[in-house]
């Protein structure tokens, strides 16, 4: 099945499920939708942990298995059934379906930051403030903490973060005498120089990826999505968005970006042989490069994200997420205990060992983590760049309460701009129009 057809099917399911979930919660009173920043103590959680029991945990992260094993060793009276119910959209579709159906949801689920508002605002997640988890605020970077807070409630604890940096093929840059770009203008120049020197090489690959586009708008200072209760404002032509498209249009229109789709076998191949020279992506990328692009060993390096004005470094988050407790859970306190252990306890260690990039300040600040020299990156202490980026994320970003749906239709709208190599702004305007219409149909009051 072609990816577009599948993603459309997924979109249909998500749309249907979200529609029904929203109508369900609006008819069932406002109780679940307007969390008032519940406060409480962790006593109930500690008690549940002592009593033990059985919970189900849905996650596709590679570290989940090791974490569950370590947890059960520490707490033998708790049984955690780890289920890999699918990756990305498959996982969310199933989660949304189970929520809609009223049964079959796990106690704890992995939820990425971009998906969290959708589940939180439909009243599907437990406000962990009721267990006193708001006390953990200072343990996390502001951007990740902001991502799990929705409408005043706390709907999960952050596990990983993805502050963006510029990964580049240093060997290739050196070969063609290209210096690491500090501004996006220099980046475009580097793209031209590289492609002129060797037409088989491209500065990066981009065929239209919603996650990347929103992160880039974020870095440019854009805040296209604002949600206040059920009223949503969308402005994909704000200053930040325009700043990004002005730069990126040049790359797309001059065909300086490769059209190899991300995460395909051809993409991995291109990262290894230098066809794709740079990636502006999240701090979790080193683990992926190391395990899946052996051909790039010794060639890649990391630099801070280019900026628009060449001034103080600013960046955005790309990817990352945490774990949430589902309202459907029959053992919410025990589930919360597991989430606390995962992201604010001994669970962080197996996560770091599997190459994860943390959201916890203590781990980001530890010298053992920061100063580790990476053999894959030719001995560069990559975490110094990446942990610095974690503190340079532009504050105040938020995703749409139906971001999963939004991302699934990105290619039908903005994707066309990429394919035709025309400007991205008309594509973004189309996307905005589709999102306003959809949001209004779903019971939000959307202005755009």
């Amino acid at each position: 099945m072609s990816p577009t057809r599948r993603s459309r099917q997924v979109a249909v399911v998500l749309a249907t499920a979200l529609a029904t979930a929203l109508s369900a919660c609006s008819s069932g009173g406002d109780g679940g939708t307007t969390p008032g920043g519940a406060t409480g103590t962790q006593d109930a959680v500690d008690a549940a942990l002592r009593d033990g029991g059985e919970i189900t945990y849905w996650s596709w992260t590679p570290s989940a298995k090791a974490q569950v094993e370590a947890f059960q060793q520490e707490f033998p009276n708790v049984k955690v059934n780890h289920v890999n119910a699918g990756t990305g959209n498959d996982h969310y579709t199933k989660l949304q379906n189970a929520i809609k159906a009223g049964s079959g949801a796990p106690d704890v689920a992995q939820v990425e930051y971009q998906a969290l508002p959708q589940f939180a605002l439909t009243g599907s997640l437990v406000d962990l403030g009721q267990y006193g988890f708001n006390a953990f605020e200072d343990d996390y970077t502001p951007s990740t903490w902001n991502s799990v807070k929705v409408g005043g409630g706390l709907f999960g604890l952050p596990q990983d973060s993805g502050p963006m940096a510029l990964f580049y093929n240093k060997a290739l840059f050196d070969q063609h005498g290209i210096t690491v770009p500090k501004t996006w203008t220099e980046y475009v120049e580097a793209a031209r120089k590289l492609h002129a020197a060797d037409p088989t090489k491209f500065i990066t690959s981009d065929t239209g990826d919603a996650g990347f586009a929103t992160s880039m708008i974020w870095q440019a200072g854009g805040k296209p999505f604002t949600t206040d209760g059920k009223s949503v404002k969308i402005d994909l032509q704000d200053e930040g968005a325009k700043k990004w498209t002005a730069t990126w249009d040049r790359l797309v229109e001059e065909k300086l970006v490769s059209s190899i789709p991300g995460w395909s076998d051809a993409w991995y191949k291109a990262l290894g042989d230098g066809t794709i020279a740079t990636l502006a992506t999240g701090a979790w990328m080193p683990g992926v490069l190391e395990s899946s692009v052996p051909g790039g060993a010794g060639k890649w390096a990391v630099a801070p994200m280019p900026t628009y004005d060449g001034g103080a470094p600013v960046t955005a988050e790309n990817g990352g997420g945490g774990q949430s407790v589902l309202k459907q859970s029959a053992k919410p306190a025990l589930a919360a205990a597991f989430v606390r252990w995962l992201n604010n306890g001994n669970g962080v260690k197996p996560f770091l060992e599997s190459g994860g990039f943390p959201a916890t300040k203590a781990d980001l600040g530890s010298s053992a983590f920061k100063d580790e020299a990476s053999p894959y990156f030719g001995g560069q202490q990559v975490n110094q760049v990446l942990t610095a980026a974690a503190g340079q994320v532009v504050p105040g970003w938020s995703y749409l309460p139906y971001q999963l749906y939004a991302n699934s239709i990105f290619n039908d709208t903005v994707g066309k701009s990429y394919a035709d190599a025309t400007g991205l702004d008309p594509g973004l305007t189309d996307w905005q129009k589709a999102l306003v219409d959809y949001g209004n149909q779903q019971g939000f009051t959307v202005n755009g």
């Binding site: 499920a17 596709w60 119910a85 699918g86 079959g104 991995y268 599997s354």
Partner: protein, 269 residues
């Protein structure tokens, strides 16, 4: 013709050649050339052992869904199609209209309502959620109906009745033999659609232990993207080859029946 051959055979050739490569070679060599090492047997071994041998479990699940689901669908379609063609009863035309309507609705559109229904019955995340919907094959029923009108003469049935045979006996000893090519055709369609069924199991099942091959392989493929990506394309490809082998065998074995079935009724005898 040549274009058609290239169009159908090149992807197959790519698949077969790729199955002989290691993950490394897959990413570093051209698609239609062999890699440095011939790793087919290694890959097959790894496919069956990766993640505690879950592939074998998926293969078993698929077989279960096909045998029970497609087998049941064929049996039901045969009995119902025959009944609809040869017996006169009240509401027959209505049944037929519903049937034609049912053919026109794509399974994908029914998946979500089916999910909600099964969820109310507490059947999601169990094999029944795949088997029960697979039992219904409106198109198969329609094929049997057409085939029966063409291949089973009313006179023959009347002769059997005059000889004193009961309706069940007529069905099993007379009709089924005449219908064999049609039934095989229906069975093939049902087997292929159940074997390839993707969307229904995708939304019905959350427990990987009950996945059929299609959903399982996609899960392996999906591991290649995002945070903590672990691409195992070589196993996905080898798994795909292993997945199509039984279908190829089924087609080769049943081809003879199938061909005679398709031409039935095409000329006046």
């Amino acid at each position: 013709m040549a274009v058609y051959l290239v169009y159908t055979l090149v992807p197959l050739a790519w698949l077969l050649i790729s199955a002989t490569k290691t993950q490394q070679d897959l990413l570093s060599t051209s698609g239609l050339a062999f890699g440095g090492t011939f790793a087919l047997f290694d890959n097959i071994g790894q496919t069956f052992t990766h993640d505690n041998g879950i592939f074998l479990r998926w293969l078993g699940n698929t077989l279960l869904y096909v045998v029970v689901g497609a087998g049941g669908a064929t049996a039901l379609a045969t009995a119902a199609g025959y009944g609809l063609a040869k017996y006169r009863f009240r509401g027959r035309r209505a049944v037929f209209a519903v049937l034609l309507g049912a053919i026109a609705i794509p399974g994908t559109a029914l998946a979500v309502p089916t999910f909600l229904m099964f969820s109310n019955l507490g059947l999601t995340n169990t094999p029944w959620a795949i088997i029960i919907p697979s039992l219904v094959s409106p198109f198969g029923l329609y094929l049997v109906w057409t085939y029966t009108t063409e291949a089973v003469p009313d006179e023959l049935l009347e002769a059997a009745r005059i000889d004193g045979a009961g309706e069940l006996r007529i069905f099993f000893t007379v009709t089924l033999r005449l219908l064999a090519p049609g039934v095989v055709t229906v069975a093939l369609f049902a087997v292929v659609s159940t074997w390839n069924n993707y969307f229904l199991p995708l939304i019905m099942l959350s427990e990987p232990d009950w996945y059929p091959l299609t959903v399982g392989l996609n899960q392996w493929s999906a591991q290649a993207s995002g945070v903590g990506a672990q691409p195992i394309y070589h196993l996905v490809i080898t798994g795909s080859v292993v997945t199509i082998v039984p279908l190829v065998i089924a087609f080769l074995l049943l081809q003879r029946f199938w061909q005679s079935g398709l031409t039935a009724g095409s000329v006046k005898q």
